[in-house]
Symmetry: C2
Subunit: 107 residues, 2 copies
DNA sequence: TCCTTATATAAGCATTTTCTTATATATTGT
DNA sequence: ACAATATATAAGAAAATGCTTATATAAGGA
């Protein structure tokens, strides 16, 4: 891999909150409202972290009504495969909002 | 691995100059004067980068007279093993100083 | 259409990072 | 002991990062 691409992906992963985001997504799709609850930071802060991971090609998104569900990209670079393998999964759903516990959960 | 240790090692590796330092050390020991030449930054800047890698447990050092030789630690965490495997080696010696081309090389 | 909800973007601020120059420390050679 | 060389540390400036609050956008329901 190119050194600059390695740098981009490492920078995207090198933050405790973003590591937790990745840890959550190891169990499947997660919506933004979950992350706010899990990380204890504001919703815009979560959006900004997710954007950084997306720009590094690590995650992708899917629109579900008003909500947006984020998940790990299937074809990770070998670098990210190695990193993700070391991140312990986190229970992805701690919140009480409808996106997770209501009828529309993940179609 | 613990999320906070992962963060520490990712942060240490997530910089283009430090990636190049690691790339050089894949070929063996390197002394500081080499790095100054290779990276094109000042000697104190190189020292600071090396300190960060050392504090993350990724590299170690050996004193050789006035010089100091840095190398990768033998027992890397599984995280760093995966990352290092993706970093292309760089020819470690570009400079013309005695530490590399003189008689005292690596003793 | 209007209101509510979920998410994204913008702007501003505090903290952290990474460089620089100047100086300190340690080793070698005279 | 003194001078020269290699590296480390200190201090300060500039840039990047990560948060906040305020606002914009988009979708769903009354």
């Amino acid at each position: 891999m190119e050194h600059t691409l390695i740098e981009k992906q490492l920078k995207a992963a090198a933050d405790l909150n973003r590591i937790k985001l990745l840890a959550c997504m190891k169990n499947g799709e997660v919506c933004v409202c979950d992350f706010v609850d899990i990380l204890g930071i504001s919703q815009p802060a979560v959006s900004q972290h997710l954007r950084k991971l997306k720009e590094a090609g690590i995650i992708t998104e899917r629109k579900v009504g008003t909500w947006k569900h984020y998940r790990l990209v299937e074809e990770q670079t070998p670098l990210m495969q190695g990193i993700l393998a070391q991140i312990q999964p986190l229970n992805r759903c701690n919140c009480d909002t409808d996106c997770c516990h209501g009828g529309n959960e993940h179609e």
